[in-house]
């Protein structure tokens, strides 16, 4: 299971500290959703768990986001677009170059069946942001939990891929998979659903690493000798 984190200077802890804490909590790795952060990934190969080079694109509109996606796609393993407005959410789910649409409900954004179908068609995962469930209180939290339940209902129906993250900004905000599963159970998402969403980060990273590797040509195409017939 993987967690996607905000490393320093986007957050308050370095990628190495995230990796150490995550390994202790039972994660297989962390995805660094870098905005300004530029961790030294070669040095992090010695870290306690896998560290995936990702990027989180924070843009105020689809035009700017589109340019950033084009810039980052060739050399980053995981490309996340932060949603929050209906235009950005729509843009992200219609781009097959995007891996994850994060925080679709931040601001005044929303998700409906049209976006869920588009996301499935283009293989874009929609993020369940557990941060307000863990760290907010009152009306803001109630509305967010309501949004999460609605999102689950929609994604469940269209079998749209999804990821789950607590959006930690420091190693102190990381929570172990079992804890997140317990919270998921409590807020009506279900423990299995949360575990599936955490595992999905790992699947995205593994698939994209294979695609970025030099031996990759196209999906299903391998270089080598013919398979021998009997």
């Amino acid at each position: 299971m993987y967690e996607a984190v905000h490393a320093h200077p986007d957050g308050d802890s370095t990628a190495a500290r995230f990796a150490e804490t995550a390994a202790r909590q039972g994660y297989d790795g962390v995805v660094v959703r870098a905005d300004d952060a530029r961790p030294d990934y070669e040095g992090l190969e010695e870290a306690d768990c896998d560290v995936v080079d990702g990027v989180e694109i924070v843009a105020d509109g689809p035009d700017r986001a589109s340019g950033a996606v084009g810039n980052f796609r060739p050399d980053r393993t995981v490309v996340v677009v932060r949603g929050g407005t209906n235009q950005l959410n729509r843009f992200a789910v219609e781009q097959d170059r995007v891996d994850v649409l994060s925080r679709p409900f931040a601001g005044d954004g929303d998700v409906n069946h049209v976006l869920a179908k588009a996301a499935k068609r283009n293989g874009v995962r929609i993020e369940f942001d557990l941060a307000p469930a863990l760290r907010a209180t009152g009306g803001h939290r109630v509305r967010h939990l309501d949004d999460l339940r609605k999102l689950k209902r929609i994604l469940d129906h269209y079998e749209t891929p999804y990821v789950v993250s607590a959006n930690p900004r420091s190693h102190l905000e990381l929570r172990a998979p079992r804890e997140l599963a317990a919270v998921g159970e409590e807020i009506g998402l279900g423990a299995e659903w949360v575990r599936g969403g955490l595992a999905e980060w790992g699947r995205v990273a593994a698939r994209n690493r294979e695609r970025l590797s030099e031996s990759f040509i196209a999906p299903g195409v391998k270089r080598g000798r013919y398979e021998e017939d009997d």
């Binding site: 320093h8 995230f18 190693h171 102190l172 317990a182």
Partner: protein, 159 residues
């Protein structure tokens, strides 16, 4: 009052909990208990809190590392775990919380899951972002003091 006959006594489970915070944090049992009850009340209300118990038994905290044992009714370990996960701040300091394990007795809980973390910490000056900063070192963990509070790092960042 005379205690209850054995078959009417409640069955407990004890959660071993590791607490981590910044090196300058000051947290005692009462602070943690209050936050835990608030977290439970906000997550599942008064009725759910009463059905879970969530008493903090022993609590030790020094230099940003602590451990505690939290009692919950048997069968409510999952809900207790969820409330613990929702604690993000105690006494104004951000805290990380991890359930190390669950046992049927306090003694088994402490012996099996707690007391693992080495407690020696020291001060050191480190070069962080081209500046010399003071830092608190605990094993491989390094907390760098900055203008806006601590930045979490590890020895790997200074090699």
């Amino acid at each position: 009052m005379k205690h209850l006959p054995k078959h009417l006594q409640p069955r407990w489970r004890y959660l071993a909990v590791e607490v981590e915070s910044h090196p300058d944090a000051r947290i005692d049992r009462g602070d943690f208990q209050r936050e835990l009850w608030y977290a439970a009340q906000n997550l599942y209300g008064d009725a759910g809190s009463a059905a879970s118990d969530l008493t903090v038994l022993s609590f030790a905290f020094a230099d940003g590392d602590g451990e505690t044992v939290v009692r919950a009714y048997r069968g409510r370990e999952g809900r207790a775990r969820a409330a613990l996960a929702c604690i993000s701040e105690v006494n104004g300091s951000p805290v990380g919380v991890r359930v190390a394990g669950v046992s049927g007795t306090v003694r088994a809980c402490e012996e099996r899951y707690l007391g693992r973390r080495a407690g020696n910490s020291g001060q050191r000056d480190v070069a962080f972002e081209n500046e010399s900063r003071s830092a608190v070192v605990r094993g491989s963990r390094v907390d760098v003091r900055g203008a806006g509070g601590f930045v979490g790092a590890t020895q790997l960042d200074f090699e």
